[in-house]
């Protein structure tokens, strides 16, 4: 039956710490056959706890012991073995039947072996559990409590070893000496060697626990100190009420310094003589060149429209030429401009503007009379060439 339910028991054992193995999960592992689970319940392999299933303690402990993964260190086994040994010894003494005496002697040998084995197992378990607790227990307070409890276990094991040794060496020493049985002598010797070994191991374990507890204590103190310093810092009292300034003055660690840079000049000889340098210089130039180009602000491309040539023609009237022509004529300026044949069509208003411009630009070469003329509603001063007027 146990071999048939191997998969289920394996799963339940691996999840023993969560203690939350649902009946549905068990059903899946037993091909959905309820009677197979029921059979395990009937034989006391499993027990029900609400909608959860649990493995019976007796099987759980058996597996833990065999697989050497037990977390609970049970010192009571050794106590029981010792009292059982004492009883068996007294039966042996009182028994007259040689055959039965021999049976008791075999039992005594078995118990002695068991004491050695259980003590050794306890010591190994203790060491493993201490390591596990220190490294894996996330809760700080629980970790400390667990370690203290494991230290008490260590003391228990130590006192049991002492008890066993006293029993073998002092209380019942004459018996073990008197009984003529080579195998028994050998077993007693092996048990004593084993107990002695365990005792030495316990001394190491004690050191380990003290070390771990000290580490926890140290961490605790550091944490407290940080909180206190933070409080004083927030109260702006850190420098006044602690010796932080003098402590920091003594600390010369480079860690406090800003990150240094070491600008080094290149060796001139190296630059002159090494061919590789040439390549390096080329690379540097290429890099610097690229950087320079990158540094420039690059404008957008010029729109095509801007690049198209647009030709616009404008006729420009050269007033100088008009004035030159006017100097050759005898008419007054307004009449001259009015009748002047320009290179393009010129309106009356524009001709008035040219008149004004010529008068203002060549004022000194003209003679402005007091006479006024009128043309198309525009009154104008009669203006002549200076020379002509002089002639007149």
């Amino acid at each position: 039956m146990m071999s048939r339910e191997q998969a289920l028991l394996k799963q339940m054992f691996s999840k023993r710490k969560q203690q939350s193995f649902r009946r549905e999960a068990a059903l899946e592992l037993t091909d959905n056959r309820l009677q197979r689970i029921q059979s395990l319940l009937d034989h006391g392999v499993l027990r029900e706890n609400g909608s959860f299933l649990e493995m019976e303690d007796i099987y759980l402990h058996f597996f833990e012991q065999v697989l050497e993964v037990n977390e609970e260190i049970n010192t009571s086994f050794v106590v029981e073995h010792i009292s059982y040994l004492k009883d068996t010894l007294s039966y042996y003494r009182q028994e007259n039947n040689e055959h039965r005496k021999l049976t008791y002697l075999r039992t005594i040998k078995r118990i002695l072996r068991n004491i050695a084995l259980t003590t050794l197992r306890n010591v190994i378990d203790l060491k493993r559990n201490i390591d596990n607790t220190f490294k894996n227990e996330p809760n700080y307070q629980i970790k400390k409590k667990k370690l203290v409890r494991l230290d008490e276990k260590r003391k228990d094991i130590e006192s049991l070893i002492k008890q066993s040794e006293t029993f073998l060496m002092e209380e019942e020493e004459p018996f073990f000496r008197v009984v003529v049985d080579e195998e028994l002598h050998q077993i007693v010797a092996t048990v004593r060697i084993s107990l002695n070994e365990c005792f030495h191991n316990l001394i190491e374990i004690q050191k380990l626990i003290i070390n771990y507890l000290n580490k926890i204590e140290y961490q605790n103190k550091i944490r407290m100190k940080i909180r206190q310093l933070k409080y004083l810092k927030d109260q702006f009292e850190l420098e006044e009420r602690t010796d932080i300034c003098s402590i920091l003055s003594q600390k010369e660690s480079v860690w406090f310094e800003p990150s240094p840079s070491y600008p080094l000049r290149l060796s001139v000889d190296y630059l002159r003589n090494d061919d590789e340098v040439l390549d390096s210089i080329r690379k540097v130039i290429a890099m610097v060149g690229k950087r320079a180009i990158l540094a420039k602000n690059v404008a957008d491309t010029i729109s095509e429209d801007y690049l198209k040539t647009q030709i616009s023609e404008e006729t420009y009237i050269n007033l100088e030429t008009v004035k030159q022509d006017f100097r050759k004529s005898d008419a007054d300026l307004f009449t001259f401009i009015h009748a002047y044949s320009f290179s393009k069509e010129v309106s009356f208003d524009e001709r008035v503007t040219f008149f004004c411009q010529i008068v203002s630009q060549f004022y000194e070469e003209l003679m402005i009379t007091d006479q006024f003329g009128t043309a198309q509603g525009v009154e104008y001063a009669v203006v002549y060439n200076k020379k002509n007027s002089e002639k007149q």
Binding site: K221, Q228, L229, K230, T242, L248, E252, W255, F256
Partner: protein, 186 residues
């Protein structure tokens, strides 16, 4: 002359640390090398005015004519007190050998009011506003100074290395008189 002297100098002269439990095999190798040739290297670095100091499972540089003034030291120390206060509140076991994920700190901040308040207190110090950014900044600062190392890139798990003890030792040697300690609320 030890071949890796330049590598050692490169790390230590920038104020870095070489820890025995580094995640990088190269750094671990450098640690062993210094450990085995301590006097030779001390003499060598001593000649260029650097003192090779050994802490608890880590090495660092100091120098007698340190050009840093007390004000800068105080500024750095107080900044780290704030950071230490935050990370020790996150986990009291935050020390050499401890492993953590920044995402986990972020989750814890969401459910732990004290932690959240302490993180908010770091806004000014880090110049960041968002919780995630402040945590990133703290983690990066610790990484830059060599107190933590990225152990697993995929899960983004960091390992606190031996050099972290330097901060703890710095805190431990500051003395608060007993009567003042009694005034400080628990």
């Amino acid at each position: 002359m030890i071949k890796q002297t330049a590598d050692i100098f490169e790390i230590l002269s920038k104020g870095g640390f070489i820890s025995s439990d580094s995640t990088s095999p190269v750094i671990r190798q450098l640690y062993t090398l210094i450990d085995e040739n301590l006097s030779e290297l001390s003499d060598f670095f001593g000649a260029i005015n650097f003192v090779l100091e050994s802490g608890n499972e880590y090495f660092y540089f100091s120098r007698k004519e340190n050009k840093v003034d007390l004000e800068r030291k105080l500024e750095i120390a107080t900044r780290w007190i704030d950071v230490l206060d935050f990370i020790k509140t996150y986990d009291a076991a935050f020390s050499a050998g401890f492993r953590f994920q920044p995402a986990d700190i972020f989750v814890r901040v969401g459910s732990d009011l004290e932690l959240k308040e302490k993180l908010n207190g770091l806004k000014k110090l880090t110049g960041k506003e968002k919780h995630e950014e402040i945590i990133d900044k703290i983690v990066n600062d610790m990484k830059r100074d060599g107190f933590i190392e990225l152990e697993n890139e995929i899960t983004s798990t960091y390992k606190v290395v031996a050099a972290f003890s330097y901060l703890e030792e710095l805190v431990a040697c500051i003395n608060i008189p007993e009567d003042i300690q009694n005034e400080i609320p628990e």
